[in-house]
Symmetry: C2
Subunit: 338 residues, 2 copies
DNA sequence: TTGTATGCGTTATCAT
DNA sequence: ATGATAACGCATACAA
């Protein structure tokens, strides 16, 4: 037979019709037992479930998705999950989506411009019911593509005035300025920045530097680090700017890992923290909270961000609406390094 | 029309037939241009690409998957990505899969027994072409389900003699014993363990304790921590066992985060490291390498593990074969805490 | 509450 | 190198 000759895929293809036959009902009834059990009488449902069990039926959502035009998949695209900055929101987002019966397609775009574009294109091919993206800066073509697709999109970690669709984030430049104000209020006049070169880190840096210069402060040292940057990058960079630090400098780091590295290296060099070097990190990771000395940091609740993004998306998927722009609180947690 | 009345899904459904019409070819030719361009003459291919561009066609892999019975998706199921233990392999695995044209479905199973089962079942519903699982301990039903599915499976982070299909990992009990030997060789007689309660951490603990007792060592303190455990858990636990530490104890920690917490707290309490308290962590995360003092740890290359898992899977997906069991090297990196 | 008819958008297969 | 045809396995829409 033609059909039988077809390549035997995996999944010893028990299909919905087999279950239906076994249970003595129509395929549609089996489908209902699976998707809308409340519309099936308990007795037939039981019979169907028995047949499913007996045959070891595993529904095929690919077929279901083609028919219903809903994939029940969400694509989540972040630069990396090697940093808590993104692993936290992805973790909470995925958890929330699982609870709602969705699966998450993980896309890692790296920090090379252009990769994200390709990834978004590729992922749209799978017809996700929704998208989680990092940042609101996408190429015009992709923005158009997303609109055409008509798929709900949440952008996180950013605060554009013109999100593609929905946004859950905060203003990085504002945070930078806030940190500057924090230092200025404590009498600092000399400043330094260690930050990665990614767009959002650059925004924080910009906000920080602008505010400092507006208030007559002096930027005595600066280093742009690779993204994602880590503890070692912080140590190396601090080593490189050590000479500029005395008599007293306030340092803003692009992430808590960098801040931890800077503090560690400063102490190794005999630079007093916070007396000679005051340090503020970013992210408020466990490392900042639980290391010694605990590090002052900008608290951004990545877990909450992921959860909120999921909520928004789910609201829209349920046919409802969700806020276009949610700014999540981000404040300075003062600790022993300032 | 019936068809037109159907719920308008997203994706202003330009389909392959539209492209075909526009280009004046059969749909199958468009499909070939997309999937096997080498089988199409360059001139028609160019015409087709032009049509695709003009119409903004985005292929539908759901339909393609149904027809070809290959989803070009791999499911990766790990307990969490909040720990570098799993985020590293997932990162490298996903990167490798992306490069090969596959997408990764991320499943987070947590540490509650039973969750993984449900997740595997759910994910099989999407007909992944392959699976990455954490550990080789699955319920008999799931193992059967996986075999029936006929899908290639790689299990990581474990060294069962009877992997479901393929395995890339190492023997945790052996590592525990290795750490014990390491300490014993340095004259230690008093030992302590701080480890999470997950199955693999328990294996390491078991191997450690058994070896110690076999060699006449004494376990003076032990704490089981929540999984995944962090820096704070390490600090708290060390605080709790501080009295048992003098005059000299060797501590094995279930993860570098815990080890870092323990070292931090020990120093805060004035316990000399490594003189009074020798510490060995697990995972060899950047934190162990770059903190002060650098922490002795068991090095496991999570990135390599993920990459190797991807390689195996890809080999099988390409119709080839791959080793059933790959043990990756895991050795002690001696640093300043021992 | 249950069943019937039909289409979802693509690719395998065979034919030319 | 290209085309015609027939599935792929399910859910929508409607009827009973």
């Amino acid at each position: 037979m033609h059909v039988a000759a077809r390549r035997r895929g995996p999944f010893a293809s028990v299909k919905i019709t087999d279950v239906a036959t076994e249970a003595g009902v129509a395929p549609m009834t089996v489908s209902r037992v699976l998707n809308t059990p409340e519309r099936v009488s308990e007795t037939t449902a039981a019979r169907v479930r028995e047949a499913i069990e007996k045959l070891g039926y595993v529904p095929n959502m690919i077929a279901g998705g083609l028919s219903s035009r809903r994939s029940r998949m969400i694509a989540a695209i972040v630069p990396t999950i090697a940093s808590p900055m993104f692993s936290e929101p992805v973790q909470s987002f995925t958890d929330a989506m699982h609870r709602a019966g969705y699966h998450v397609l993980l896309g890692l775009s790296g920090y090379t411009p252009g990769t994200e574009d390709g990834l978004i294109r590729a992922v749209l091919t799978r017809r996700p019911d929704g998208l989680l993206l990092t940042g609101a800066a996408h190429s015009p073509e992709v923005k158009r593509l997303l609109r055409d697709a008509g798929v709900p999109v949440v952008e996180i970690w950013d605060a554009s005035d013109t999100p593609t669709d929905m946004l859950v984030g905060f203003d990085h430049a504002e945070i930078g300025a806030k940190v500057a104000d924090f230092f200025l209020a404590r009498g600092h006049r000399r400043f330094a920045v260690l930050t990665a070169g990614d767009p959002r880190a650059r925004l924080r840096r910009r906000g920080f530097i602008d505010r400092i210069e507006a208030r007559g402060g002096v930027l005595v040292a600066e280093r742009i680090l690779p993204a994602p940057s880590g503890i070692r990058d912080g140590r190396t960079a601090l080593q490189a700017i050590a000479d500029q630090i005395p008599p007293r400098t306030a340092l803003f780091c692009g992430s808590d890992l960098v801040a931890f590295g800077a503090v560690t290296q400063a102490r190794a060099l005999g630079i007093a923290v916070p007396e000679t070097l005051a340090v503020c990190g970013f992210g408020d990771f466990e490392l900042a909270q639980a290391s010694e000395p605990p590090i002052t940091s900008v608290g951004v609740d990545g877990t909450a961000m992921g959860r909120q993004a999921a909520e928004n998306l789910l609201a829209r998927l349920a046919g409802g609406s969700a806020p276009r722009r949610i700014l999540i609180p981000a404040g300075i947690r003062e600790r022993a390094t300032t």
